[in-house]
């Protein structure tokens, strides 16, 4: 199968869906002739032009609000928010309006909106360009939360997001943009709510998201040399969450470590830990462990940034700990 980069998969997904459905269009800063800050719309201008690749002023609240109004009245906007940090300027539109309108209108109005952009530390981008704020959105009923780790997944899940009738938030780690992986030429989509077992194992389950999936896989490799067999499970979507696959893995390995780049309080690790405690308590042989970024604004200087984000070593050490219990 051909291999393409994560960012290329994003571009393909958008172009294919725009070709398929004339109501799909993109709002974003620099997504027109420039092709996007990350080349996410490069080469699309000639085909789609200014009607459907709409270069916006720096007006996140404004164009997100316009997108919500457009989604309420028959269109399928993609808001390219660039960095998810910028979405805080538009948060009211996402949470108070987009997320709630279907319910509050008694199901009369759909809001098929996609907001997508980058998350993640690792490039010294500092406190306003490195955040991973998806847990916050999982607390808001009405939003679907997608967090793809591979080129294959981002293409299939983004296409599903664009076709979905609800507001879908897509979180793409910028550290993944240049990673390559197999992506078929043929059309496919990936349903929401299906976790994937990235590596099978029998001693411990690593539930990992986004770029942490790559780290968890590396850790599993290292641990294998020590005779520890780690299973790596990637939920792929946080809302809906595929509890079945996660629980099946935990019941098999009897140990669980969550690796997630977002912050810990009320976060992904807490959710998985609660799930394990609620529904797999008697299968557990060791305490549940959570590995998250330190709860600080992401610092810029490389040694500081490295110190706050989960590391390979941290994963390996934590797994050794739970194996000794």
């Amino acid at each position: 199968m051909r291999e393409i980069r994560y960012i290329d998969a994003i571009r393909e997904a958008q172009a294919e869906e725009m070709r398929r459905d004339k109501t799909v269009f993109i709002f974003g800063e620099g997504i027109g002739p420039r092709g996007g800050a990350f080349t996410q719309t490069q080469g699309m201008w000639d085909e789609f032009g200014e009607k459907r690749l709409i270069d916006t002023p720096i007006s996140e609240l404004g164009f997100t609000g316009v997108a919500v109004g457009a989604a309420m009245t028959g269109l399928r906007p993609i808001v390219d928010i660039m960095f998810w940090d910028f979405a805080f300027e538009a948060l009211g539109q996402i949470v108070n309006q987009a997320a709630r309108i279907h319910y509050m209108s008694n199901g009369q109005i759909k809001v098929p909106l996609v907001v997508r952009g980058v998350i993640g530390a690792g490039q010294s981008a500092g406190g306003h360009h490195s955040n991973s704020p998806y847990p916050l959105y999982t607390q808001m009923p009405g939003l679907k939360i997608v967090i793809p780790a591979t080129p294959y997944d981002v293409k299939g899940l983004l296409k599903t997001a664009i076709r979905d009738d609800d507001p879908v938030m897509v979180f793409e780690h910028k550290g993944l943009y240049n990673t390559k992986g197999p992506v078929p030429e043929e059309e496919y989509t990936i349903p929401f709510g299906q976790a994937i077992v990235r590596r099978e194992g029998s001693d411990v389950t690593l539930v990992a998201t986004s770029r942490m999936v790559l780290l968890a896989l590396e850790a599993a490799e290292t641990l294998a040399d020590e005779g520890i067999s780690a299973e790596v499970v990637d939920p792929r979507t946080l809302v809906p969450l595929d509890k079945k696959t996660i629980l099946a893995s935990i019941r098999k390995t009897n140990r669980v470590v969550v690796v997630d780049e977002a912050f810990s309080p009320c976060g992904v690790g807490g959710e998985i830990a609660a799930l394990a405690a609620d529904e797999a308590f008697y299968h557990l042989d060791a305490p549940i462990k959570r590995i998250h970024s330190l709860s600080v604004p992401t610092p810029s200087s490389p040694p500081l940034e490295k110190a706050v984000v989960p590391s390979l070593e941290q994963i390996v050490t934590t797994v050794r700990e739970v194996m000794n219990q």
Partner: protein
């Protein structure tokens, strides 16, 4: 200005009276404990929704505010559905899930009243964007209060609507207060209409107590939008005769004299006197309209009182259009 045809005049009168009697009934049953939550009444401001919505088609859009019962009725949402929503009943326009500040009736072009100050402006621009994108002739009217004209939604919404030439009319109901905050204290420049210049669109200030003045200004702006000539900002100077919400005495931040002065400019008697002076209608015709309106409002009350509550079993349904 030439007077519009008699049937238009009578329709304007009937609509204003409907909005007034509806809200008076809401105040009454609210005090009786029939309506849960908060309600913000439109009493004193009827000329605005009436004069504007008289120009709209059923397929046109309206986005509205926390003070939105009048917008819903004037846009054609049946009084029964609006009243029942306030009562929290399953027959309400939002099935009881919304309440006063979340009236949704897309079938009638009402894209929602709103519990947040500001969003009506940008979401209205969004509906207008959609109409333009889809190539329809639909126009959107975004209603908002003077309180919203200092939010980011106002400034970002007007800018985008202007650079994209969207078919939208922004109608500010400047009733001089945002809760207790005076418009004059809150607003640099002390004019909403003047702000239109910054966004390169026409800005019109009209007497919001004069339904014909509103009707005329809105007619021009809506025609402009429909012709693809872009947005207009209309500032209607008006006044709420009652408290901010039911339960607020509406005093303390404004003087009794000020309230009395404005009450002299009640849009309904003003218009009635004009119609009678110009001999457009007879006392009998007006009395007949009054009786019809009373009956219509009573019907909405009876309907609400007899309507079922929503089923608690459904409390967790319809969060998503395609469920998880």
């Amino acid at each position: 200005m030439d007077l519009p045809d008699k049937d238009v005049l009578l329709a304007l009168y009937r609509q204003m009276l409907m909005l007034r009697r509806f809200e008076e009934a809401v105040a009454r049953v609210y005090r009786e404990g029939k309506i849960p939550g908060f309600v913000h009444l439109y009493i004193g401001e009827e000329a605005v929704a009436t004069g504007v919505c008289a120009h709209l088609e059923k397929t046109d859009y309206v986005t509205s505010t926390h003070r939105g019962h009048g917008h819903a009725l004037a846009k054609g949402v049946p009084a029964r559905q609006v009243m029942a929503e306030l009562w929290g009943r399953s027959t309400g326009c939002s099935g009881g899930r919304g309440g006063s500040m979340h009236l949704y009736a897309p079938e009638y072009g009402l894209l929602g009243t709103n519990g947040i100050v500001g969003p009506s402006i940008i979401n209205g621009a969004g509906a207008a964007f959609s109409a333009k994108y889809r190539g329809t002739s639909q126009v959107t009217v975004a209603f908002f209060g003077d309180g919203a004209n200092n939010t980011g939604s106002f400034h970002e919404g007007l800018n985008l609507a202007s650079i994209w030439k969207l078919p939208v009319v922004f109608v500010c109901e400047n009733n001089l207060y945002a809760t207790e905050m005076s418009f004059l204290k809150a607003t640099a420049g002390q004019s909403v209409a003047a702000r239109a210049a910054a966004y390169a669109m026409p800005g019109v200030a009209v007497d919001g107590q004069d339904v014909l003045a509103v009707y005329q200004a809105a007619g021009e702006a809506i025609a402009r939008a429909r012709a693809g000539e872009g947005p207009t900002l209309i500032e209607c100077r008006t006044y709420r005769f009652v408290g901010h919400h039911e339960g607020d005495p509406g005093t303390g931040y404004r003087t009794q004299e000020e309230v009395e002065e404005w009450r002299k400019r009640d849009p309904i008697p003003l218009f009635r006197d004009r119609l009678l002076t110009d001999k457009v209608v007879t006392q009998d015709e007006l009395a007949q309209i009054g009786d019809d309106v009373e009956a219509h409002v009573q019907d909405a009350i009876d309907f609400s009182a007899q309507s079922a509550w929503p089923s608690p079993q459904e409390a967790a349904t319809k969060v998503f259009a395609s469920p998880l």
